[in-house]
């Protein structure tokens, strides 16, 4: 729709630009958008609305995802969602359901259970009501998963970690290094499997896996030592001198803040503490955040080309928030339309204005920068073959 030519031409200046590093959307914007959709999904069991949400997420992913490895995760999440629906359905059919129903679909042979297992039923009557209820419920969960999958395939996980506050930077690096390790491990396993073949041994079977395991772990260890050496030699972990007063303040703020959070949470959950719970929790959070911020002073790091929140990022994040807000409002005004009746069975109706609100979630497909066409054939030799040729 953004590539339309013809009468839409006068609006060319408004069309989404091609994505470069400068105008790339911050990972946080995509996550806010996706979490907004997920929140909306959690407020309804109307299959039509859920379907609409999945459609919106899928369309945006199709329009704006890149060729990066993480971008392929969307399909996996869709499959996971379908699996969840299936599992929910099977459990409902086999274990029965508290939903009363009159439309008998079939009767499974019921497993007689001893007296102490009262309340548990295996097999027995399967009614249309309980099946529909299970499908609605499963669909809600599946939609949540698919929204998360959409964020996963649109946002670069490494860039998300980069937006961590300075004091948590080290934890972020550890995760990034671990993530780049996974493909190396896969490449190692492939290489060793082929090496087994070269020695005339079968490459399948449990024995082969065990045999390969040890060298793979050895290789991973050696590589982590090499990466650690490289990071050390490139200045990882350099610290700035910090006056003792600041250091102590940091420690007090962080510890005190965490303590406040603990006590505050306890107060909130305990029966009578609601009065002091919330203020204490908030004060604790504030102190902990201040501690983190102050702790960041110890690190001398700077950030190279951090993500910028421009108008497009706000629009993307805002569209997700708008969908969530509209759906929460709709759940308050007209709960019946968002939760179509199961007993008695009724056909779900598409509530008009919540549906229109969900369509706001399509905004990113128009405003987010378009990923550049791949400059090289899509399947550049995967890490495995690259390392075969070059290492």
């Amino acid at each position: 729709m953004t590539r339309s030519t013809g009468p839409a031409r006068p609006h060319r200046a408004l069309r989404a630009p091609e994505a470069t590093r400068t105008n790339a959307l911050p990972a946080g914007a995509w996550w806010l958008w996706a979490l907004g959709l997920a929140t909306a999904a959690s407020r309804t069991t109307n299959p039509l609305l859920l379907g609409l949400l999945v459609g919106v997420a899928g369309y945006v992913v199709a329009a704006r995802r890149t060729d990066a490895p993480w971008a392929r995760s969307y399909g996996a999440f869709v499959k996971l969602g379908l699996f969840v629906v299936g599992v929910r359905l099977v459990f409902s059919v086999v274990l029965g359901s508290p939903v009363p129903g009159t439309h008998l679909l079939l009767t499974l042979p019921e497993l007689p259970l001893p007296g102490w297992a009262q309340g548990i039923r295996i097999g027995g009557r399967v009614t249309a009501e309980q099946v529909v209820f299970a499908v609605y419920d499963g669909a809600k969960l599946a939609t949540l998963l698919i929204c998360v999958g959409a964020a996963n395939s649109l946002a670069d996980p490494a860039r998300l970690l980069k937006s961590l506050p300075g004091a948590l930077y080290e934890a972020g690096v550890a995760v990034v290094v671990a993530m780049t390790f996974a493909p190396h491990l896969v490449a190692d396993v492939l290489r060793l499997r082929t090496a087994r073949r070269l020695r005339g041994r079968p490459t399948g079977g449990i024995g082969a896996v065990l045999r390969i395991g040890l060298p793979v772990i050895e290789g991973a260890l050696e590589r982590s030592v090499a990466v650690a050496a490289s990071m050390d030699a490139r200045g990882y972990g350099r610290t700035a001198p910090v006056p003792p007063a600041v250091r102590h303040t940091t420690a007090v703020l962080t510890l005190g803040g965490l303590l406040g959070v603990c006590v505050g949470t306890y107060g909130l959950l305990a029966a009578r503490g609601a009065l002091y719970g919330l203020p204490l929790l908030l004060a604790g959070l504030a102190a902990a955040l201040a501690g983190l911020r102050l702790g960041g002073r110890r690190s001398v790091r700077t950030r190279y080309r951090p993500d910028r929140w421009g108008a497009r990022a706000w629009l993307v994040a805002g569209s997700g928030v708008a969908v969530a807000a509209a759906m929460i409002r709709a759940a308050g005004v007209d709960p019946g339309a968002l939760h179509p009746g199961v007993v008695p069975l009724t056909a779900p109706v598409l509530p008009l204005w919540p549906a229109a609100a969900v369509l706001v979630g399509l905004l990113p497909a128009a405003v987010a920068p378009v990923p550049a066409a791949p400059s090289l054939p899509p399947s550049t030799p995967a890490p495995t073959s690259a390392s075969e040729e070059t290492t």
Binding site: L198, R223, A226, G235
Partner: protein
């Protein structure tokens, strides 16, 4: 800029010192090349400059190493990071981030440079190293030469005064190596960076060096001097120097250009003689080992698979043949219409740039990839359809990383496993290993062997099944000249026994020394296939130094010239 004062290093558990009594000064803005046989402590010397020895590796360092006045005893590697940039042997284990641009910025981020400075330097470095087109690419999709350039760029951005490089060109094809070296020269000339570099492939780098630091043997005192002086007494030397010594040129030439200018008289002396033709010793095919009929596995027996009968050797005396072979990896056509045949006793060198399909062709010959089009026949069998146990008696491949082939804890256990794999009487592999690497104790762990010894062990393991076709992928990587000479001897003997050898290599000198035939691949297609001399002499990238010096005469190696000069005398 760099000062070593009476430096000795001894690693924990090592019987003797790795370095002892090193006393030297590297002035600012010089390119110093560290040479010496394997295992003399070149890497240790380099890592002592960046402080990784002893802070990271452990061991005991006595004496003092100072870099620009900073003592490495009191400064940890991270505190030298703004001063020394280090790139190790394997660029892949150097990378911390996943894209080129982030990698270039990583070091500066750690040092806390201002964002606008970082941005400017990244752009400058992208241009300096010719990486601008790759800035957003994931590092794992780059070729070896590109990765090496990214690794160098990533340590350049903090503007270090000293650059330390361990074998920067060993894994690269000739063209990529020249790219990297051109960059280094630019750094030295334009930015005044001090470069300390270790490299086995002297023929590529010695001409760029201002000084050469020779570590003659483990623990011996190092010699430092101008390249010409040091090369005169070095046990390791590139062909151009060897030829200069043979012809008695004074001072020794270091580059092909210098040598060509002086080579007029040598060319005249050689004018009357023809370079010897190199022919495979045909017909000397060793009898195929009676295949101890591969027993089918349990599943095979269940499904009534019959033991593979001993296949006849193909009548036309060809060990392996590919016909219009095409291989695809994903959507990339790694090989296209490759037609090739290998005769017994023949040594074929596969050459071409990184990613041209050399490794893929070798893996297709052992049956690890299925041909998409065309056919592969090795010893009359289709490798990808034949069980591995049968295939090992037809063809053996020594992979790029020989260590992949070795699993066992000790050399002896490795050999016993190889005998079992190949179904031959116990002891054959150990005997072979004894021939190929004499003096290696049984109990040693394969990881503790040197590169050359490990290659020899892998070779012994592969040869245990006595395959008539032997494939080697980049065998000379990390080998010094002595280990290379041993390898050449072994491969010649194998060929003389009637085995066919196919090696994929970037090492033009090795191909010139050894190959009967050279096949050049580009983008998965065969672009040249013929006798070594014809293919190699005319090519600027693939000609060995001797051929370049003595062109248009077709001499390939110093050995040939020496023989020719001695005959009339």
């Amino acid at each position: 800029m760099i000062r070593f004062e009476q430096v000795s290093v001894q690693y924990e558990g090592a019987a003797r010192r790795t370095l002892s009594g090193v006393d030297l000064t590297v002035p600012e803005g010089e390119l110093v090349l560290v040479v010496g046989p394997s295992g003399v402590g070149k890497s240790t010397l380099l890592n002592a400059v960046s402080g990784l020895v002893p802070h990271f590796t452990g061991g005991l360092l006595t004496g003092r190493v100072t870099v620009d006045g900073r003592d490495t005893r009191t400064h940890r590697p991270r505190e030298l990071a703004d001063l020394v940039g280090t790139v190790g042997q394997d660029p892949l284990s150097h990378f911390v981030t996943d894209t080129v641009e982030d990698e270039l910025a990583y070091g500066m981020e750690s040092l806390g440079l201002a964002p606008d400075v970082m941005r400017r330097r990244v752009e400058e470095t992208l241009d300096l190293l010719g990486l601008a087109g790759l800035r957003d690419r994931p590092i794992s999709t780059l070729s070896g030469g590109q990765q090496q350039r990214v690794a160098i760029g990533s340590v350049l951005t903090p503007h270090p005064k000293v650059l330390v490089l361990d074998e920067p060109t060993s894994a690269l094809d000739p063209a990529a190596a020249e790219d990297v070296l051109a960059v280094l020269q630019r750094l030295v000339h334009d930015l005044g960076t001090t470069v300390l570099m270790a490299e086995h492939r002297l023929e590529r780098v010695v001409q760029y060096a201002d000084q050469v630091l020779l570590l003659p043997s483990p623990g011996a005192a190092p010699v430092m001097g101008t390249p010409a002086d040091v090369m005169a007494l070095s046990p390791v030397r590139p062909p151009v120097v060897a030829l200069g010594r043979l012809a008695g040129w004074e001072p020794l030439p270091l580059s092909v250009r210098d040598a060509r200018r002086r080579a007029g008289d040598l060319r005249e002396r050689l004018a009357g003689t023809e370079p010897p033709a190199r022919e495979p010793s045909a017909g000397a095919l060793a009898p195929l080992p009676a295949p101890a009929a591969a027993r089918p596995g349990l599943l095979g027996r269940l499904f009534g698979r019959r033991p593979a009968a001993a296949e006849p050797v193909p009548a036309d005396g060809v060990v392996a043949r590919t016909e219009g072979l095409g291989v695809r990896r994903g959507r990339v056509e790694a090989l296209r219409g490759v037609t090739l045949s290998v005769a017994p006793g023949e040594i074929v060198a596969l050459m071409g740039r990184n990613g041209a399909g050399k490794s893929t062709l070798l893996t297709a010959l052992v049956g690890m990839v299925e041909p998409a089009t065309g056919s592969v026949l090795v010893g009359g069998l289709q490798p990808s359809r034949t069980p591995p146990r049968t295939m090992v008696r037809r063809v053996g491949l020594v992979p790029q990383e020989p260590r992949d082939l070795l699993y066992a804890e000790t050399v002896a256990a490795e050999c016993a496993a190889a005998d079992a794999d190949a179904g031959v009487p116990a002891g054959r592999c150990r005997a072979l290993a004894g021939e190929l690497l004499p003096g290696v104790p049984d109990g040693i762990h394969p990881r503790d062997l040197s590169e050359g010894q490990r290659l020899a062990l892998a070779l012994a393991v592969v040869l245990t099944a006595q395959p008539p076709l032997l494939l080697l992928d980049e065998p000379t990587r990390g080998l010094d000249y002595a280990a290379k000479a041993r390898l050449v001897g072994v491969l010649r003997r194998l060929a003389a026994e009637g085995r066919a050898v196919v090696l994929a290599t970037h090492d033009v000198e090795l191909a010139a020394e050894l190959a009967h035939r050279v096949v050049i691949l580009a983008d998965g297609e065969v672009v040249a296939d013929g006798p070594t001399r014809q293919v190699v002499v005319s090519s600027p990238a693939f000609a060995p130094q001797t051929a370049k010096i003595l062109a248009p005469q077709g001499w390939l190696t110093v050995g040939q010239v020496r023989d020719a000069l001695e005959v009339p005398a």
